[in-house]
Amino acid sequence: MKNVILLTIDALRKDVLGCYGSQGGLTPFIDSLQNNCLKFTRAQASGPYTQASFTGLLTSSYYLEYGKPKGLSPNRTLISEPLKRAGIITAAFHSNPYLCDYLGWNRGWDVFYDSMEEEVDERIPYIKGNVINSKVDEWLTSYRQGDNKPFFLWLHYMDIHEPYVPERKYIDMVDPSITISQNEMYNLFKDVLLKRDVSDEGAVKLLKKLYDIHVREVDGYIKEFFAILGKLDLLPNSVIIMTSDHGDEFGEHGGLSHDDKMYSELIDVPLLIYDLSQDEGGVCDALASNVDIPPTIIYLFGLDPVESFEGHSLLPLGGYPGNGCFGEAIDQRSQRGGDMEKDSYFYREQDLKVIYRANLDSWEMYDLKADPKELNNIIGTSPEAEELKIKLKPRVRRWLKDNLRGEQK
């Protein structure tokens, strides 16, 4: 039985990767793996930010399934739980506060490192990828000295996430002509990004450039991680699933960062399954959701399907149930003001996507093939609009009644 590794990268857009068509040269290492990768071209996040997406990624359930979420509901099954029960060693290394043990994400892990006790700099408010790697290296090395039971390892890099203050050496790798200081970068974060101010096109472009530089940086961390696996001779007997929790917006739909929108720049994610024994590469154009990842992990370990998981295994390829993909979120920026919650939803089938915003009671629909930038709303003209709306409607606001029962914390 092979080990399974889930490598997730926070806020990584699909369209910055060379293997997904980018010419930017930001991901030479990931691109070099393609001969051993199964590549999903239509992978969808189940939400546009960490909490909304990771419920899919690690619990195969939707964000608003159990009322308005604060902590992780005990009703959800974390992928680590059935694995640990089956005798598989489970380890997690990350630095995202939304996934910390205080919020309940530490269930079922033999090792759970969330970095919350470390002091970090406000300009780099997380543990960097190289430190995550060294902790993983240390753990894998000690694992190698043990009885070598199969393991499930999840590691997550935060480095692409704002505030976008990259180090000089990575700037020089991407664009040495950028000369602004770290202070100026941090001010850009505070004055432009935090205010979601897209009025200055040059500033938005610069933010995107700094983001791209972090992408290049993370490609290096992935290379370093693969080298660790190589050193410990773990590559031949491990399957590595690589994806991101969501993308990031740079003015495509009038905003910045990742709030509650359901457009491609946030919802389209890369999804690669690396297996050294597969040396032909492969491409899967079927729709895939990140709720499908936990069932895929269960399949890879040869375990019985977990009943509460809402997705299906992506392996073996094909023969999928043919369902569309759902996603949902509540705008976090509206939550603190006591505003009415701005919840939003999407449903996608093939290349058609409908989006519903509950507080505006507004519907949108896009044909992603004809209009990949999602600028032309066809909800009033598409013959398929009604059918897609009917499929999404039962999900809308169902959390309100669940909320009365209350989610933990």
Partner: protein, 276 residues
């Protein structure tokens, strides 16, 4: 476990801790070392073990620091004062008196940032807090920084401390499973460079109590009343009323219920990432 097994296991645990302490004395002189002591069961156990080593090896006991965050139990004060005298410690109370004065000595008082001295104002600015006022609470974002982090940093700098002993245990939090006995903290935005030494990392909460009973190590009376974990007075809660900590079901219940500090830490990170 029989009483005999318990004694044997405790001796092994203590021996392992003593080895860590001896390693520390090989790496640092007694003057470069300091011991953090809260008066709680873990740091008291740590201090007791270090004293043992110092007596056995005839080494000078390093200086001891204790932080008064302005919200402490009088029972803890009494305990620390009593044993500090008894054990003849070189003890320093670290108190951010300026912050306490600005709050009028009252918890939850609204403090105006401009009423603080320059150093404290600069510290508040340094952690990115931009409001004009804050609530005086030991475990809030600003309160924690002023009352604990700043006091700790000042002590380290003032005494040129290279390494500090701490009473952290691995089983306290899942996140600590990877911790090492020696942890080097690089100089960063908020802390000066120093090494953290954790001699009792391998103790569980149960081991701590077994060891306290077997070796007759003193403990604060609050544990007899049912407290299991002692932090700030206003946020620490009795776990089981009237049942001494060591008689509680330590294995199946949480030691740090509430864990206000963990929440604050999470909120701080989220703020820095641009949320909130």
């Amino acid at each position: 476990m029989t009483e005999q097994d318990k004694v044997k296991k405790c001796a092994e645990l203590v021996e392992k801790s003593k080895k860590v302490v001896r390693d520390a004395f090989n790496k640092f002189t007694p003057d470069e070392l300091a011991i953090t002591w809260t008066g709680g069961k873990d740091s008291t156990t740590t201090l007791w073990i270090i004293r043992q080593v110092c007596q056995e090896d005839k080494i000078k006991l390093p200086k001891v620091m204790t932080i008064d965050e302005g919200d402490s139990f009088p029972e803890i004060h009494d305990f620390i004062n009593k044993w500090s005298k008894e054990w003849n410690l070189d003890l320093e109370w670290c108190v951010n008196q300026d912050a306490i004065d600005a709050a009028g000595g009252k918890l939850n008082a609204l403090v105006k940032v401009k009423d603080l001295n320059e150093r404290n104002q600069a510290e508040i600015k340094r952690i990115g807090y931009e409001e004009d006022t804050f609530r005086f609470e030991a475990e809030s974002y600003v309160g924690n920084h002023l009352m604990k982090t700043v006091m700790f940093n000042l002590y380290i700098e003032r005494h040129n401390v290279k390494a500090v002993f701490q009473g952290l245990r691995r089983d306290e939090q899942a996140t600590r499973t990877q911790d090492d006995y020696f942890e080097k903290k690089e100089a960063a935005h908020l802390i000066p460079e120093h090494v953290r030494i954790k001699p009792i990392l391998h103790f569980t909460e149960r081991d701590i109590w077994n060891n306290i009973m077997i070796n007759k190590i003193p403990y604060c009376i609050l544990y007899e009343r049912g407290y299991r974990s002692l932090g700030a007075a206003s946020t620490s809660q009795i776990a089981v009323e009237g049942v001494p900590a060591w008689e509680q079901d330590l294995e199946h219940t949480v030691e740090r219920a509430g864990r206000r500090q963990d929440k604050e830490q999470m909120m701080k990170r989220l703020r820095e990432l641009g949320y909130m």
